[in-house]
Subunit: 219 residues, 2 copies
């Protein structure tokens, strides 16, 4: 099992702690679009991404979404096990953005290990601090950045993740990432197209001028 | 020294860890309005509030502010020692909202204790998860709540903190808490006054109808 090489503090655990984790671990494959966790579910457990891509987002009462962070290979998702952290009082939804393989560590097992092991608790601290930084970045974006800059930043980020300038994305999907309405995104993308920054087609956005998009994002 | 009774995991530390902390601790008194930490400072250290009130906020490039969380008696401020958490990549500013007495634990000392002690690391986890929850609440507020609801929520929170309906607050202060402009707050408060919810005077806002404010906040 290659779990060991994905869990950075493996070497710092005792034999008993390792056994506890390996004995309770489950391996899961989820299809793109699958809902893995939502705030109302019981504690799903900690998720360690083997390969694929997850998206963590929050939902308004009216069903609007905004992406809080994303998880890639080797990332650990803590808040699908918020029952482990009594002070984590919020609901987050996690879905697979791509076909994803992951390990699930039961929350209760992780809590046991973390209670005994300073390295495990400190690793958890670092993971949480990294997510905290992402949420603070998000607060800055939604407070101080206009939507044109946020759309430009999102398109550039997507292009970097996918390694291509041709993004298979609907306007609805972009709106759900950014916490806005589809119509607003459509209007913005048409403006970008008019400026020669993108080319729009059904279900796709092609980046034509990354320099110009970067200049807009960083302005 | 009463530090022991303010630090919830004191009983779970070893004698050596206790000595390390007590030997490096400093006691500080800061006046209302004093800036205790800003993102550009070197690592200020962990702050444990003995009495008083602190405000943690972020600043835009243009100097606009928004309050992220507040700290009261017995609260621990982690992010004034973000050098301890390598993954905490953001700038936060901390000021005293009232005359405040606090202990400062040097960041390097806290890091040492946390590395050895699972209870200390787990306590840090819980503190961070609590702050995380506050930031997630903030994201939900600024994304999905209109400003009238946010102003109502802020006035009710202030009134609960101060234990009075007569709040000594300028419109500028309210705007800085909520990340908006003074003019916008003034307009909103005048509307509240017209509805009989508050009475405005120079440098103060008096709540006249808490029920109505609560109804607005929760609508």
């Amino acid at each position: 099992m290659e779990f060991q090489s994905y869990f950075p503090i493996w070497d710092k655990l005792t034999a008993a702690q390792r056994e506890l984790i390996l004995g309770s671990l489950t391996d899961r494959e989820v299809k793109k679009g699958a809902l893995i966790h939502n705030g109302d579910m019981d504690c799903t457990g900690l998720l360690l991404v083997r390969s694929g891509q997850l998206r963590a987002y929050i939902l308004s009462e009216e069903g609007r979404e905004i992406t809080v962070y994303r998880l890639f290979d080797r990332d650990l998702c803590l808040f699908s096990a918020s029952c482990v952290l009594r002070s984590a009082q919020f609901s987050i939804t996690i879905e697979a953005e791509k076909d994803t393989r992951l390990w699930v560590i039961p929350a209760e097992i992780y809590r046991q290990v973390m209670e005994q092991s300073a390295p495990a608790a400190n690793y958890t601290n670092e993971v949480m601090a990294a997510r905290f930084s992402e949420v603070m970045w998000l607060v800055e974006q939604i407070m101080w950045k206009s939507l044109d800059k946020r759309v430009a930043a999102f398109l550039l980020e997507e292009s970097a993740i996918e390694g291509t300038a041709l993004l298979r994305l609907t306007h609805e999907t972009i709106a759900n990432h950014l916490g806005t309405h589809r119509e607003v995104v459509t209007r913005m993308l048409r403006y970008f197209q008019g400026e020669g920054m993108v080319r729009l087609a059904r279900g796709s956005v092609e980046l034509l001028d990354e320099r110009k998009l970067e200049a807009l994002r960083d302005a």
